[in-house]
């Protein structure tokens, strides 16, 4: 661990004893629109104690590939080729054999721990279920083993946690429970499908640390499915890049990330924003032109926002927040989930009232306006939301969507509106032919361009962008960000840019505001906050954000561990007692685990 040489991916066993292997795997789905070839003949193997990252953008077939290993594809899928888990061939197993294999030989860690856990069963019930089904332990023994598992994944007070329900745990703890369930039967290989995508960046770093120590200490193979190049750089020994159902490149993390050979890999890596590289990655950001005596585009003064809940105490989502956005300035609002950043954005749009404090747009207080005045003020603010699927009215063609603000403010006639829409379509680099198309005919990136065009229809002085790129694939995000910087330079709007992604903020913002639990932790110019953070929380946040370069990421990881040590925190890792015994499923005379005996051999599945 002390050397920084990563060209040799750790202790790799001989090629023959892979714990998971795909040979010439192909998957075809029958749909009403004909056959869809999701996976087109790929070869891949995972060896013990190795992390293989399967990388690709949405629709590349990476999740489908992983599901074949568990035999969990829907009925309309046809699978070709051979999948081996340990010494078993998945295609040759009946229902009982598959159930026996799942958990025992291969386990899964899902993306969203809230939906992966059953909300009406206690943690204990869910942990012991697998143990009992596979005949590893029963009754009190199983409960003791479950507590041991929770200790291993670093959950304090395991006995108390066993009696709790999933909603009583935080997101990170839930994902730890899912990992505990995955290792309960000591599988040879774990498939982790985007295990950290739903988590905050500091929690993500902990979960990755945990997974890493898991493969080191238990020698488990991990197939890590992700779209995040930073996670790949942090975790992977080997990387396989998937594009439209094909593997376009495989190699060690160093080979693929630092010396990519395939055109697509290069493009993918070039599209990843790099924390620390500053602006200019996707087009230059114009310097702020406003003179200091100009009125700020947005000024929040001691803003407090509260949510009133029936039967519960009022929840204070935003507490005493003061920030201002100068004209032509991009201010990045950063924070983890629940920090109140979206609430502030909605309040700046006048969609949520402030409990106290002031919201001024160009010197006029939003809260004091009513009726016509308010409507007139609103035309000076544009908005872009996160989810391109829900931010466009599915019943309106694109032309109408973009022209809608003009119609609402009764501006121009049919022809001038049409001209404005076509001009905006050009500005956001969409072909004019989308004028008559409907949102469902466009891809996510295209829809987000339409969203941005709509926000700019009325030439606003202030744009509020609430995570505008976080639902997009990385290369689409790069294009949208490139376009965004170009538009900002051209139209000179001020922007409140809400994001959880520090790298995106780093390449875009003039100033950065860091939020935690509804309060401002730190704010200042981008270089100061992101490159020389003063506050402990900001330091943690930045240390936890992975960068897509294995060597640098290793350095960052060690720096983070040093920081955590300094701050007196634990580094997440698997806690294994010296007398830890690997669970052995009890087998009956035929060789089946006794726990499954009750499940008849009908094989129906």
């Amino acid at each position: 661990m002390t050397t920084l040489d990563i060209s040799v991916p750790g202790p790799v066993s001989a090629a023959g004893d892979a714990v998971l292997s795909f040979e010439d795997l192909s998957v075809t789905f029958k749909t009403e629109f004909g056959d869809v070839h999701a996976v087109k003949g790929i070869d891949l193997e995972v060896r013990p104690g190795e992390v293989v990252a399967l990388v690709g953008e949405s629709g590349s077939g990476k999740s489908v590939t992983s599901m074949t290993a568990l035999g969990l594809l829907p009925r309309n899928a046809r699978i070709g080729g051979t999948i081996r888990v340990g010494d078993k061939v998945v295609g040759g197993l009946d229902g009982r054999g598959l159930r026996n294999m799942r958990g025992n030989d291969v386990a899964m860690v899902f993306q969203e721990p809230m939906t992966a856990l059953n909300p009406v069963l206690t943690i204990g019930d869910q942990l012991t279920e697998g143990l009992q089904l596979h005949g590893i332990a029963y009754g009190k023994q199983a409960i003791a083993r479950a507590a041991e598992l929770l200790t291993m994944v670093g959950i304090p007070e395991p006995e108390r946690r066993l009696k709790q329900y999933p909603h009583e745990l935080s997101g990170g703890q839930r994902q730890r429970v899912v990992i505990a369930m995955a290792i309960a039967c000591d599988p040879k290989v774990i498939i982790a499908d985007e295990p950290t995508t739903a988590l905050d960046v500091t929690v993500q770093a902990d979960i990755l640390d945990l997974l890493r120590s898991l493969k080191d200490k238990l020698n488990t193979g991990i197939l890590l499915i992700t779209h995040n190049m930073g996670v790949v750089a942090d975790m992977a020994d080997r990387v396989a890049v998937m594009l439209k159902g094909d593997l376009v490149e495989t190699g060690t993390a160093d080979q693929v990330l630092n010396h990519p050979r395939h055109e697509y890999t290069k493009r993918l890596l070039a599209a990843v924003p790099h924390l620390g590289a500053g602006p200019g990655q996707f087009g230059d950001v114009a310097p702020v032109v406003a003179a200091p005596e100009d009125l700020p585009a947005l000024d929040l003064g001691n803003l407090v926002i509260e949510y009133h809940r029936v039967g519960k105490p009022t929840f204070r989502a935003v507490d005493d927040v003061s920030l201002s956005v100068a004209q032509g300035e991009i201010v990045g609002l950063v924070g983890e989930s629940g920090s109140g950043k979206s609430t502030i954005a909605k309040c700046a749009l006048g969609l949520i009232p402030a409990a106290s404090g002031s919201v001024s747009i160009l010197g006029t207080d939003f809260n004091k306006m009513r009726g016509k005045e308010l409507k007139a003020m609103r035309r000076r603010i544009g908005v872009v939301f996160q989810d391109p699927a829900s931010s466009l009215n599915p019943r309106l063609p694109i032309g109408d969507v973009i022209a809608e603000p003009l119609v609402v403010h009764k501006e121009g006639d049919e022809r001038s509106r049409r001209r404005r829409v076509l001009e905006l379509l050009d500005a956001v680099e969409l072909p004019r032919s989308v004028y008559n198309r409907y949102p469902h005919e466009l891809s996510g990136g295209q829809r987000q361009r339409v969203s941005i065009a709509r926000a700019l229809t009325l030439d606003p002085e202030l744009l509020v962008a609430d995570e505008p790129t976080s639902a997009l694939d990385v290369s689409v995000q790069a294009n949208v960000l490139k376009m965004f910087t170009a538009l900002q330079e051209r139209y000179k709007f001020a922007c409140l840019f809400v994001s959880h992604d520090l790298a995106v903020i780093d390449l875009l913002a003039h100033r950065v505001v860091v939020l935690q639990n509804g309060r401002i932790v730190e704010q200042g110019p981008r270089e100061d906050v992101l490159h020389h953070p003063r506050e402990e929380y900001t330091q943690r946040l930045i240390a936890a954000a992975p960068v897509p370069e294995p060597l640098e990421q290793r350095r960052r990881r060690e720096a983070r561990h040093a920081l955590l040590n300094k701050l007196g925190d634990d580094i997440a890792e698997l806690h294994i007692e010296d007398d830890y015994e690997r669970p052995q499923p009890k087998r009956d005379e035929v060789g089946n685990p006794s726990g499954l005996a009750g499940y008849g051999g009908d094989g129906g599945n």
Binding site: T31, E32, G59, Y264, L351, V383, E404, Y438, S443
Partner: protein, 332 residues
């Protein structure tokens, strides 16, 4: 669900139909895809897609044809109001009875006890039943949609009042209210009856629309419209209601089917359409005693009620499947 094709280096290539060919596992598992067919370059609106799916639904299409035939025959045969029809016999005149009045070529539906042409009578009854059913469907849809949309969109005290009002209407037995009010209202002819029935049957739609609006008003495009300064009324009519049109149309259809049955029950009980007007329910009521000796007097109106109600229900099913293709993937 963005597609990998949009990652071309020179910006995203414009390619429609992503939803149909996307290889996303979840989309495929759900089976239903709202996208247009690949290989066709025409642009389809949501409405056109719905129409395509509806016309592929055989039972609904067949029902549509049958119902259309019934409507055309009912209105053209004996004419309506001053306009004469092509059927030579009237529904008020008494003719010489042929035998016991069983169906013959001259009287295809037979004759009633007094010698009236039963075909003309049944057509007259069908006309009235259809008029009542469709009026009730339209009135209850308008009232229900308005109340549901306003309650769901504005929330607060307005919602509380409207939904309690709905609750009150739900707890009163429908048949009793309809009977009491209907008796009074049928003094104004069938339109009075249709109005009264429409004003007591909107409750289920109001609840459905409210639920739909509650979820739609949280969607980002509604927030975006609010942020631009769109008036509440415009948000409701342009952004919210068009997106709940599926729910509204489907339940309007089903409201028509239940209105036919409600009118029949009322008329059978003697509270509905009053003589000299007639409806299918009134006919059954009038000739129920003749069922044993002259069964055609019962069967013709009975079969027509059944056919119309069945057709409308099938059309409703077809519409539901067309509006929400994800619900009907059990055929695969």
């Amino acid at each position: 669900m963005s597609d990998i094709r949009n990652t071309a280096p020179d910006g995203e290539k414009y390619e429609p139909h992503v939803s149909a060919t996307s290889t996303d596992a979840i989309g495929l598992a759900a089976g239903g895809s709202a996208g247009p067919l690949p290989g066709e370059d025409k642009s389809y609106s949501q409405g056109q897609l719905v129409a395509r799916r509806f016309f592929r639904h055989k039972a609904a299409l067949g029902s549509m044809i049958v119902l259309g035939l019934i409507i055309v025959v009912a209105f053209t045969s004996i004419g309506i109001g001053p306009i004469p029809g092509w059927w030579p016999k009237g529904y008020t005149l008494q003719y010489d009875k042929i035998g016991d009045g069983a169906p013959t070529w001259a009287y295809p539906f037979g004759q009633d006890t007094g010698g009236k042409d039963y075909f003309a009578l049944v057509m007259r009854g069908t006309q009235f039943s259809l008029i009542i059913a469709f009026s009730v469907g339209i009135i209850s849809t308008i009232v229900g949609t308005l109340i549901g949309a306003v309650a769901g969109f504005y929330r607060g005290w307005l919602e509380a009042i409207l939904m309690r009002l709905t609750d009150v209407f739900i707890v009163i037995p429908l048949l009793v209210v309809a009977a009491v009010l209907g008796k009074t209202a049928s003094g104004w002819g069938i339109w009075g009856l249709a109005l009264v029935l429409g004003l007591v049957t909107w409750t289920s739609l109001a609840r459905l629309v409210r639920g739909e609006v509650l979820s739609l008003r949280e969607r980002d495009f509604v927030l975006a419209a609010q942020a631009v300064g769109t008036s509440p009324w415009r948000i409701i009519t342009r952004h919210v209601l068009p997106n709940s049109v599926g729910v509204i149309i489907v339940s309007a259809t089903l409201a028509i089917a239940s209105a036919i049955l409600l009118e029949t029950s009322l008329s059978y009980l003697g509270f509905g359409v009053q003589a000299p007007d007639t409806s299918l329910g009134t006919l059954i009521d009038e000739y129920q005693a003749a069922f044993a000796t002259r069964p055609w007097l019962f069967w013709w109106p009975g079969m027509l009620i059944l056919t119309i109600a069945l057709c409308v229900n099938f059309i409703g099913d077809g519409l539901r499947d067309a509006f929400d293709p994800r619900q009907n993937r059990n055929k695969d």
